[in-house]
Symmetry: C2
Subunit: 167 residues, 2 copies
């Protein structure tokens, strides 16, 4: 092709945009700069990478950690209540609990209020594992938000909640 | 373990936590309430679901939309510059550009500054597709943030940027 592009790519200092800096100076983002979804995804990737580094060795996915925490705080809750709380389908909650059962961390027992349903509880191993996980996740979360003041962290948390609670 | 497995598909208990409300009132979230990573993921899921509904028919993933937008605003940029700008590995950028080439939306041309490298550009079809995509994505992004004031949306955007730009 006879396209001669001496413009943007070339006026840059030799490879200014090629430097491995997070911000890639000189590169235009156009409307991406104003798209919350784009920034959410970028932030999510960075946070997840740190999660993997910090908690990855425990072989517990973020959704599994969330489920363990919710079950521990609400022992005996139903699969449907877990699904609703986590914003996932009931079938997704079933898969999640299956995985936690396989790891020996949670168990289904007949519900004391309705024997046709399950109540979910942590096993002793699940409770012990969660203690360690909470330390790691808290450490991880503080690190990925270390550039924010406490007020800003709360502000971010509040705004994020509204995105999914009022949707 | 002598846990009796009652039928998996059994109906739910008539509990408050079982109601299909996003907030699942009465269920304790414990430290999840204070974990930015948890809220990021929840918000991300809701935003992505709306993206699929709005833009899904175009068969363009969010990362592909981001790449198209960046290429359009920086025609001739290198694969490395694209990777850096998007916060992904160079190998990830190669896969991304391959996919856009397969769809006929972008192309690699020899770089005018260094013939050993590629400059990436949109095809005419890519440019036309992007016009439509930008409308859809803007509409989508406004809808998923409709519960925020303009100030709050900017605030959220600013805080999210700091999470990945200063990490």
């Amino acid at each position: 092709m006879a396209v001669k592009r001496v413009k943007k790519g070339a006026t840059k200092t030799p490879g200014a945009g090629d430097l491995p800096t997070p911000s890639a100076p000189g590169v235009e983002l156009d409307l991406l700069d104003d798209i919350v979804g784009y920034r959410l995804r970028r932030a999510q990737v960075v946070v997840y990478q740190d999660y993997l580094r910090t908690v990855g060795s425990q072989d517990i996915r973020p959704s599994q950690f969330a489920a363990l925490t919710i079950i521990a705080s609400n022992p005996g809750l139903s699969q449907t209540a877990l699904a609703t709380t986590m914003g996932i389908d009931r079938s997704g909650a079933v898969i999640l609990i299956d995985a936690l059962e396989d790891k020996g961390l949670a168990m289904r027992v007949p519900s004391p209020v309705d024997r046709r349903t399950h109540a979910i509880m942590l096993t002793a191993q699940g409770q012990a594992t969660l203690v360690r996980l909470k330390e790691l996740v808290t450490e991880h979360d503080r690190r990925v938000t270390a550039m924010l003041s406490e007020d800003e962290r709360v502000q971010l948390n509040t705004l994020l909640l509204r995105l999914y609670q009022e949707s």
